[in-house]
Amino acid sequence: MTTIDMKMSAIYQASHDELPRQAAEFGAYADNITGSIEPIVQQIVLAGNHPIGDDLADISVELFLHLRSTVRTCNDTATGLDGMADDFVRVDDDARAWFAKHKQYVGDPDTAPVPTSPEV
């Protein structure tokens, strides 16, 4: 593997493959929090609206916020690294030649959708 191959593969793999994959997984689990806590709290409301529902909702919202932050960071980093690589392709002949052979990295990386926050 040449130096340019190693350099370009790493950044495009990070921005187009690894970070979007992690963002999607964290996003799915963040959505899972929303999909789990909402029906639980709904039923607790029916049980005399016991205040324990608020505690459970508070904890789940905090967890959600942290996972969403991870999703956003992965998305933003993927986009940022992709931009850095694209900039380098524009100014470096070897990078441009490498990029010409790796069409799968044309365009922006697929960022994960931002998960839906719990309505609790």
Binding site: K7, I11, S36, Q43, G48, I52, D55, D58, L63, S69
Partner: protein
């Protein structure tokens, strides 16, 4: 809601029929039986008057005949006394009302009084009153919570796995680091737009996930405890209602026994059922639940089944005696049952309070069931602490 990548569990949710579908027929049956008791009490009042209270002057006497009291548990052709004109009454020959008429009048009064009393229980709001008094217990659907609780279990376990030995969340070049990560650092060390922040973020993910796993574990377990509690109180509600129904049946059978066999009038002394106890919950109930639901970080990797096949009663010796099972008359049974429902509602709140306020470790007997990470803090305080630590728990920023 299944966790992504985790075993699905949505098919476990919502399949059970709502508990109200079991309760509504029981409530209506209980109201009917209580109404029949009220009917018997009204009929008895008339018969008692005929036999004991109405003064019998000259020319009048008491005779025995067969009367019928309506109802599923009524009695037919039971011998009873009633007041008739005696043969030596001077008006006997001219009276427009015959003794046969008097028998029919008494029988009609019995039948009318029975139906009036019975219908006042069945056509009114009695069964809907039972429904509304117990609504906080029967209305939640624990089956709809079971799948979501499993989803939180999978979340906790997935977060926990991020901190496992082969996790990729390390510094470039470290043991276990993905090749692309090491190459990224090697190939882009001096880029003006980059910094160490991405690598610091990446390296921190497993540490953060380990902390999130503890939080998610407490969340999942607490949700499981709540689900378990609601499910068990619903089981108890059906049991308690069934017991009250059976008590009303038993009281009606006693009426039949009095009239069919001995012929003696009911004295009000009923069978002593004070030995019958039903569990209506109790403060230990919630504490028992705390130990019964495993933590996702120490329990089985699969989701837990907390609704189907759960323990019906957790702390049997902490039972509370049902009022309705001690009662004999219609009013006593119905009022006692409503009191039982109110007690159950209060006990369910107490059980949830225990989960909310008591440190779980105070209620687990086995050392292995203790939660070393969060078990010394009540849920309410723990939630406040998680909120307070938000900035500390937030992943570090990446500045590109």
């Amino acid at each position: 809601m299944p966790g992504p990548g985790g075993p699905g569990s949505s098919e476990d949710t919502g399949n059970a029929a709502p508990v109200i579908e079991k309760l509504d027929p029981l409530f209506k049956e209980l109201a009917d039986l209580v109404g029949q008791l009220a009917g018997n009490e009204a009929a008895w009042s008339i018969l008692y008057n005929q036999a004991m209270e109405i003064p019998v002057g000259d020319g009048w006497t008491r005779a025995t005949t067969n009367f019928t009291v309506p109802g599923t548990y009524g009695w037919t052709k039971t011998k009873a006394l009633y007041v008739i004109m005696s043969a030596d009454n001077p008006d006997m020959a001219t009276s427009e009302v015959t003794n046969e008429d008097r028998e029919r009048i008494v029988q009609k009064a019995i039948t009318d009084a029975w139906h009036k009393a019975h219908d006042s229980w069945t056509t009114g709001s009695v069964s809907s009153g039972y429904r509304s008094t117990s609504q906080n217990i029967w209305e939640p659907d624990p089956a709809a919570m079971s799948g979501p609780v499993d989803g939180l279990y999978y979340l906790a376990q997935w977060l926990y796995r991020q901190d496992s030995g082969d996790s990729p969340w390390v510094q470039p070049g470290a043991e276990g680091a993905p090749e692309w990560l090491t190459n990224l650092k090697a190939g882009w060390p001096n880029t003006a737009l980059s910094s160490e922040s991405f690598y610091a973020f990446w390296d921190d993910v497993d540490d953060k996930c380990a902390r999130y796993a503890i939080i998610a574990g407490r969340l999942a377990k607490s949700c499981g405890q709540v689900t378990y509690t609601l499910s068990d109180f619903q089981t108890n509600l059906v049991e308690v209602t069934t017991k009250a129904r059976d008590r009303a049946k038993e009281a009606l059978l006693q009426w039949q026994t009095w009239k069919m066999d001995s012929g003696a009038w009911p004295t009000g002394g009923m069978t002593d059922n004070s030995g019958i106890k039903m569990i209506l919950g109790g403060i230990s109930y919630g504490a028992g639940t705390i130990g019964a639901v495993p933590s996702p970080l120490t329990g089985p990797l699969a989701g837990i089944s907390i609704v189907t096949g759960g323990l019906s009663y957790l702390i049997e010796e902490k039972s509370v005696e049902m009022e309705a099972t001690k009662a004999a008359t219609a009013d006593q049974i119905s009022t006692g049952f409503v009191n039982d429902l109110t007690t159950m509602d209060g006990e369910m709140t107490k059980a949830l309070n225990v989960i909310r306020t008591d440190p779980p470790n105070e209620h687990v007997e086995k050392q292995g069931d203790r939660d070393p990470a969060t078990g010394d803090t009540g849920l309410q305080a723990y939630a406040a602490d998680v909120v307070k630590r938000r900035s500390d728990l937030t992943p570090p920023n990446v500045r590109l």
